[in-house]
Structure formats: C-alpha cells, structure tokens
Symmetry: C2
Subunit: 191 residues, 2 copies
Amino acid sequence: MLHLQSPTAARWLRQVDAHLEEVLIDHAHCEKKAAGTALNLIFHYVEDAELCREMTAIVNEELEHFHMVLDLLQRRGIRFRRLKPSQYGRKLNDLVRKQEPQRAVDRLLVAGLIEARSCERFQQLAEHVEDPELAAFYRGLFESEARHHATYTRLATHFAPEDSVMNRLDELAAAEAAIIAEGEDLPRMHS
Amino acid sequence: MLHLQSPTAARWLRQVDAHLEEVLIDHAHCEKKAAGTALNLIFHYVEDAELCREMTAIVNEELEHFHMVLDLLQRRGIRFRRLKPSQYGRKLNDLVRKQEPQRAVDRLLVAGLIEARSCERFQQLAEHVEDPELAAFYRGLFESEARHHATYTRLATHFAPEDSVMNRLDELAAAEAAIIAEGEDLPRMHS
C-alpha cells in the first residue's frame, strides 16, 4: 500500500531513543515542509482543479499537525528551534526530472514517498516508544500519511498514463530505499 | 483602520465593469498568493509561536477563499487559467528592506497593506456591482481582509517598537497609494 521497498532499520529507533527531543523538533519542521510542498504544487499546477482541492486539504492537515507537534513540545518544556535538516528530502528532490509533464509526476511521487516513509516510521514509533502520550500521538498521524501517499500517487496519473506512473514509482521507491538505508548522523525523522 | 492613504479611483470600477471575468480569475490567483505569503512567513519566522498560529489561520482562510472564487467561476462557466499578474505586489515587495529585523517588519506591513487594499476594493465592489450573488460574495470577504490587515500590523511589532512600526506603516502606505494611483492597463484586482 505504501510502495516502500524496505523497512526502517533498527538503527534508526536507537537514534530516536538517544535524541528524542531533536527528532520531535525535526518532526514539527517536517510537517511545515509538507504544507509547503503541497502549496507549491498548487502554484505550479493551478489549472488542475482536483489537485488544487486535494493539496488544499493536505496544507490544512499538515499545518494542523505542525501545531500539534508544537503543542506537544510546549507541554514537554522543549524549546522549538531551527534545526539543520536531514539530506533525505534534498536527495529525493534531486531525482525529479526537469521537463514537464515528467516533472509533475516525479514531484507528486516523491512527495508521496516521503509521506509513505513518515507513515511507516510513525507506525514503528507507535509500537516502540514507551511514553503512552507519544505512542498515541504517532498512531494518530499514521492514517493521514497513508492517505496522503495514496492521493499523491493518484494525482500523478493526471500527468502520465497509470502504467508509466507505477513504473516510475518503482524506480523512485528503489532510490528512496537506498537513500534511507544510508542513514545520517544527525538524528532526524528521516535519518 | 485600514491605514490606506487614498481611496480607489472610479477608473478602476470602469475597468472591472469592462473585464469582470478577468478580474474574477485574478482574484482567485490573489487568494492563492495570499496563502503563499502567509506560509512563507511561517518558514522565515518559525520560532515566533504567535506568528505561526496567526499565519496558519490566514493560510487556511485564503485557501478557502481561493476555492470559493474557483467555485464561483465554475458556476459562471468561466474557465480558470493562468494570468499575467499585475505589478502591484512586485512593486510593493521591492520596498521591503533587506536586513532583519527591518525585513520582517516590512514583509508584514506590505502583506497587511495588500489586505487593506483588497478590503477597500471589495467594499467598493460590493456597493458597485449589480449582480446580487457577486455583491454578497464581496461583502463576505470584507471582514476577513480587514482582520488580516490588523493581524499583520500587530505582528510587525514583534520585530520593532510600535512607534517605529507605525512610522514605517505611514511610509509604506504613502508608497502604496502612489503605486495604486498609477494604475495598470491589465484589468486586475490591484490594477
């Protein structure tokens, strides 16, 4: 359903355990970036009415999640601050082809894969963390990320035939699995 | 209340009468741009919790308005399409000072002045147009634009003392009045 080609390694959960505050702060930034991605897609493909409607719903949801994470940080006395982002999003965005309509397909599929990986990691976190508030929080986010993944993948078929979209999704998912397998020293949602 | 230094000229209402469809399409683009402006402010000043909260509300409202205009276009059989934007926003943004915290003050005040001008024009349109659906539509938008203007102006005081913010608002409002007085040949919300 999520089209991911590898599960998250146990290494990542150990990184989260050691740096939970930093991962929580990064999570807030990720929700904000996800809203930005969806709004950018409205700007670039504004004549696609369904895309505009779906992206608007995603902007609203991601900003709601952004504030949910900010509230959680505040309840825990963690100061929200800027963080150096992980390289994961940049590496994936580097794979986006430059010419339209391939560019639209890739932007949507990459956005969808980031949602899929977030979804998979929220599920892992929900099972892993002992803190019941956090576990419930991650469980609550799981469903919307899965839905966003499906929305992005479906919208990609506005710009290319379904079989070519699915082939490209396979390629990008393989690249995503390789990128996430590399890991990063900075503890992040997608390290 | 809106800090504008001149009312809209009758010339503009004649332009709207002659090119209503194009002005409606431009209106949709303006709502989308307003959402983009608010989200960009979250990205740049993400550590200001109140700003993030207020900008989130504005993103949501502007996107709601964007879809209200798209629905109105659809009901009228007007195809939504890309349009060359007016120069109004660019000219105002050129006035933004480059150094922080002046940059933050100016970005907020310019965004607030655009809301103020939109508000003033919606009020004029509500009184001017004979179409009752359109008149009601413009009346419905008036209040939120006025509120957004007040929000932007208040948030500017997070970055500079209130008297310096109000002096700068006077300067920018004078510039705005000069820019809008020039007019533009393209029929637009801010021509």
